[in-house]
Point group: C2
Chain length 328, copies 2
């Protein structure tokens, strides 16, 4: 019988889960929960019911795993620990600094309900974290480097849109090619914030706005832009809508280290992602870990997990014999 999956939310990430679940025949989308009026939500998949979020507790026997597609700022800190009382759950919580706190809250909730929860699943945190951990365990002496982009930073785009006179805006984070090359060479460079990424902003100004002032305000904004080489392009709303709706992203993780009695041998590990659709890729990772969450629950495990705690074989629909024969 297929693993019964529920989705909480119906934004970009949830729609990614909806499309990618279709490629996993051992899993079945059995319902979507929304805080909106369910009759206002139309899924792309026929025959799947939409429920009000308020029904979640009473449907605890109808789903094997809930994939919670909420925001990290306010949704997930409340939702994941609450829904772990009723279901195996998984989320993509990505506020790095608050992961320990989120982990503790979800762990307590999942353990008391004897359920499995997996948090912070996606690509960063997620696949990038795995690369950092594996690489650090192998190259114990070395340096870590993470680069993001080219891709949209939601936080920086929001910051642009708060500048007076800005009607709309989008910010791309771009890794600096020469910094990537220096890391790749194994030279273990020390890189300042400015040396690693540039920031490129596309701004639609309100009519009559002072563009020079907008540009200055953006470039001098502390934390967000002042430590970076930032470019600001003013474009029309038409251009904005035509050219800046994409959800591509990606990035690079490196570990560069040495081995040998005298540290005489250099090694560089590089992992990179080029993603046309950030939400669909993140959804694909969530789905693989939802399978693992189900299996861990079946094995009698419980509590909160991260990608670090889950053996890779649990992600695959194939048997141990099959993966050893074809992928090892």
């Amino acid at each position: 019988m297929a693993i019964r999956i529920g989705i909480v939310g119906y934004g970009n990430l949830a729609r990614g889960v909806e499309s990618e679940l279709r490629k996993n025949p051992d899993m079945k989308l059995c319902g979507v929960f929304t805080r909106r009026d369910p009759s206002s939500v139309t899924l792309r998949t026929e025959g799947v019911p939409v429920y009000s979020s308020s029904k979640i507790p009473e449907m605890k026997d109808d789903f094997d795993v809930l994939i919670i597609c909420g925001g990290s700022a306010t949704d997930l800190p409340e939702m994941t620990k609450e829904y772990a009382k009723y279901f195996n759950v998984i989320d993509s919580f990505d506020t790095h600094a608050k992961i320990p706190e989120h982990f503790a809250a979800v762990d307590a909730s999942a353990k008391s309900a004897n359920k499995v929860a997996v948090i912070s699943v996606g690509w960063d945190p997620g696949m990038f974290s795995l690369t950092r951990l594996y690489s650090n365990c192998i190259l114990t002496e070395g340096n870590d480097y993470t680069f993001w982009g080219k891709g949209v930073s939601q936080g920086h785009s929001d910051a642009i849109r708060r500048v007076p006179g800005v009607k709309n805006g989008k910010q791309y984070t771009i890794p600096v090619e020469s910094a990537l090359a220096a890391v790749r060479s194994g030279s273990n460079p020390e890189l300042t914030t400015r040396m690693k990424h540039t920031r490129e902003c596309f701004v639609v100004a309100e009519e009559g706005a002072d563009k020079a002032l907008i540009e200055k305000t953006i470039k001098e904004m502390p934390n967000y832009f002042s430590d970076y080489d930032t470019t600001v392009h003013f474009i029309s709303e038409e251009e904005f809508n035509r050219d800046h709706q994409g959800m591509a992203h990606g990035g690079f993780v490196f570990r560069s280290g040495t081995t040998g009695f005298d540290g005489e041998h250099k090694h560089v590990i590089e992992y990179s992602l080029k993603l046309d659709s950030n939400p669909e890729f993140t959804a694909s990772v969530l789905i693989a870990y939802a399978r693992a969450a189900y299996r861990l629950d079946q094995q009698g495990d419980s509590g909160c997990k991260t990608v670090f705690d889950i053996a890779p074989a649990l992600l695959s629909p194939l048997s141990g014999d099959e993966i050893r024969a074809h992928m090892l």
Copy 2:
């Protein structure tokens, strides 16, 4: 108390384990086993005893994990299943086609002795296998590509040395840049053997040998060279000894796939290694998995495992709290 490690063998890989263990303060090299006369083997680490391999069974209480550094052709198929009767063991068995057979034999032996064995640990099989598995679980629709090099292929170097008139020889496998670029672009190219790698041979000919015939014989050798664009360089013994003693290697693993309701979004996952010392890097992976083997044994687990079966957190000397705080 430190994890007590024994090494079986004292070739390049074993010497790599010896040097890299020094960077892992939670582990201690407690002895090396050799088939040679122990008095003929001088370790680089002071105070560590060398024992005859024949003593292995009687020392079963003196080591927590044995790292078996033998060849995959004849050593490991015998050694790993035998020593798993007495110790937790780990090897780097890399004959891909024979992994299922090796796994079954070692599993039976380790289970009956209630020990943990980990086989096929290194970078391929090993880290490359992990990348293939994770990437396939995420991008269920797509293609896999593995490239090796630039690095020495032992099997191809041996084949060169068997050609009449050849005194010494070394073969480098080199990935084709244009093929890497095509894969990286996400175009999912179909690549023949010839399109993926070239082979470069450095040959020391015996005096008076027919170099044209040697070159022809190498280039036309079935399985080894005939399907590749092969270059043969004749060099002096002095040049050979000066320039071709390195043990650098590396390679690339890609998964290129699509997501979306209509497969409209492309994604490329790339993992690559650039290694100055193949044996020291492989040794570093073995050491991390030796830690995991010890922990699994402490948890009461037993039987044969591969990198697929081991949760990443088990590889790290750090606690779950620490890795969540710093690497997730």
